[in-house]
């Protein structure tokens, strides 16, 4: 599903070149649940951004579903993001002037889905996340946990194959965080590939595959998700 071959990501900082990712080789199969952990500056967010096609590798190749996406144009990458990848951010990133339903509808609008179809899809997604009664509330009228659930609804409304979560519980209290994690794990059980970047050891440990990063390299990797293999 996700295959990194000798991927490097360098940043120019003043006169110096910082190797944010250094020769990463990684294979993540469809349906896996992996956590990416490591100290600040270890490259875990850069790795997630590259997987999510928000950033481009300086060298190496990235194959998504067997297709080399490294060479795609910006527009093609945008299309791939829209159709195959969902993002959940620590800061939710909801558009404040739009209602919960309006926020969830955004990726479908960008995809050009007809209005009737997308209204139905939004309603179903909100219902699945117990947000139907919050559909017409603006983000400021929602609790942190509800906001993150709206963000998950937005990330999954296009039925992507990969869900990328960057510190999804970072801005939530313990209980809301636990709810969000359960929702994400539920989505994974239904087949979505789930990658979670976190500082939170407890959350990281819940993943069936744990990747630890340090100084732009993969320091340890528990290896392909054995449970998924067992399921298959």
């Amino acid at each position: 599903m996700i295959e990194f071959r000798e991927v490097n990501r360098d940043f120019q900082v003043g006169d110096q070149v910082v190797h944010a990712l250094d020769t990463i080789n990684l294979n993540i199969a469809a349906g896996e649940y992996a956590s990416i952990m490591g100290p600040s500056g270890s490259g875990k967010s850069t790795l997630l951004n590259l997987i999510g096609l928000l950033d481009r590798a300086t060298a190496g190749h990235y194959l998504l579903n067997g297709e080399d996406v490294t060479t795609l144009s910006d527009t093609q990458q945008a299309q791939t993001r829209n159709q195959q990848i969902g993002f959940v951010f620590q800061a939710f990133h909801l558009v404040p002037r739009l209602t919960a339903a309006g926020n969830v509808e955004l990726p479908l609008i960008l995809a050009g889905m007809p209005v009737e179809e997308r209204r139905e899809r939004v309603a179903q997604t909100l219902e699945a996340l117990n947000l139907t009664d919050r559909a017409h509330h603006k983000p400021e009228q929602l609790s942190g946990g509800q906001r993150q659930r709206v963000a998950i609804a937005r990330a999954t409304v296009t039925e992507p194959k990969v869900l990328l979560a960057d510190e999804p519980t970072g801005n939530l209290d313990h209980r809301s965080g636990r709810d969000v994690v359960e929702i994400l794990e539920g989505l994974n059980r239904r087949g979505i590939t789930l990658l979670v970047v976190t500082h939170d050891a407890e959350l990281g440990e819940r993943a069936r595959r744990r990747i630890l990063m340090r100084d732009g390299r993969i320091e340890s990797d528990t290896g392909p998700d054995s449970e998924r293999h067992a399921q298959q």
């Binding site: 159709q83 609008i109 209005v115």
Partner: protein, 402 residues
């Protein structure tokens, strides 16, 4: 993305930042309103002047002493330079054409008028009985100058209503003797208060027989001869007749200028049209300023909405889609601002018409269309740069900003 969704998103974004939106709307509206009001003023002035000339009578030919080399009007036309005199005999000779309805010789000067110790300086117009019909003036009281031989210097006068008010107040003027210069004239009529003429307020003038004016100012020459032609079709023929007749009378020399109403009208029409264009052009500069303001505010908006742009990119918005979203906002703003400006401009023009009824202020259609078009094109053009900058934002950096 469907166009409905684009406009809904743009409208939502505009409503989301009301102060910013209002500022840009006002800037655009002022620009468009300025074009509408200024061109309305120019057009009003043009219509006013054309209207005034038309009120002179459309079949009018004006004969002036001196030859102007170009057709139409030039400065000397109004300065009254006189290389060779036009005389009353010349004027009389012009009546000998069956297409000439009537003529009115003119002699103009300034003199003091007094009555019972009240005195002021006035413009004296020496003319004849037919002047009333030639200029479409109306008489308010009494009678106009008598229909007698042009050479007869009767001591009578017709006064404008302002002169009547100033000299006589509420008292009866008809029949009273006034002193003009060193001569005495009996007031036989008062003009009705409507009459105005280009450059001269008729109500501030005193009319006396042309021969009396020649004696008063001690000159045999005339300032103008107005010739009214029976029909519009005969104007050219009469014009040629006048030139021929006066050349014969002036020893074969063509030393008069004969201008038709149409030529004067066309000249003024051109002058005021150019003035309207110039005013429209100047006002259009404010639209340019509005465009630059839109560009500035859009650039600020992009830095305010960086994280939203990052999010849209993360959700799969292609660079062109971001450009389209921002351009649509600009387009919507421009269209709304321009419409508001049009409304304001028309309102202001309406107020102008109420306050100055004599000036038929009305923005010409071309100015309205151009103002709207320039506003929309400026708004969109000046938003291209900010929109492209938004499209090029790095989504990772954009998302990391709050």
């Amino acid at each position: 993305m469907h166009s409905n969704d684009v406009s809904r998103f743009a409208w939502g974004a505009l409503r989301g930042y009301p102060t910013r939106t209002l500022l840009m709307l006002v800037a655009m509206a002022i620009g468009v309103a300025a074009v509408v009001v200024l061109t309305a003023l120019g057009e009003g002035a043009r219509r006013y002047v054309v209207g005034e000339f038309t009120s002179l009578g459309s079949n009018l030919i004006i004969v002036l002493p001196g030859r102007s080399e170009t057709a139409g009007v030039n400065p000397s036309t109004f300065m009254g330079e006189t290389p060779r005199d036009l005389t009353l005999a010349d004027a009389q000779a012009l009546t000998r054409n069956r297409n000439v309805e009537r003529i009115a010789p003119l002699n103009v000067g300034a003199a003091d008028i007094s009555w019972q110790g009240r005195q002021r300086e006035v413009t004296i117009i020496g003319t004849n009985h037919d002047m009333l019909a030639v200029r479409n003036w109306e008489l308010g009281l009494g009678e106009f100058l008598p229909d007698t031989d042009l050479e007869l210097a009767s001591p009578v006068c017709v006064i404008g209503s302002t002169i009547r008010d100033e000299l006589f107040g509420a008292r009866r003027a008809i029949g009273e003797w006034v002193r003009i210069g060193d001569r005495r004239f009996r007031v036989i009529g008062v003009l009705a208060s409507e009459g105005r003429s280009i450059g001269v307020d008729v109500q501030e003038t005193v009319l006396i027989p042309v021969a009396s004016a020649q004696q008063l100012f001690n000159t045999p020459s005339l300032f103008r001869i107005l010739v009214e032609v029976k029909s519009r079709d005969a104007i050219t023929q009469v014009q040629q007749f006048i030139i021929r007749t006066l050349r014969e009378r002036h020893q074969g020399e063509e030393d008069v200028t004969v201008i038709t109403q149409d030529a004067v009208l066309a000249t003024f029409d051109r002058i005021f049209s150019a003035l309207t264009y110039a005013m429209g052009g100047m006002a259009a500069i404010s639209l340019l300023v509005a465009g630059i303001l839109i560009m500035n505010v859009m650039l600020v908006a992009i830095s305010q909405r960086t994280s939203e742009i990052g999010l849209l990119k993360a959700l799969g918005a292609a660079p062109q889609q971001i450009v389209i979203l921002f351009l649509s906002e600009a387009l919507l703003l421009s269209v709304l601002g321009a419409s508001l400006g049009l409304l304001l401009g028309q309102l202001a023009t309406g107020v102008l018409r109420q306050v100055f009824p004599a000036l038929p202020a009305q923005a010409p259609l071309w100015a309205v269309i151009m103002a709207l078009l320039v506003a929309v094109v400026t708004g969109v053009l000046f938003s291209l740069l900010p929109a492209r900058r938004a499209a090029r934002l790095d989504p990772v950096l954009a998302l990391s900003r709050r």
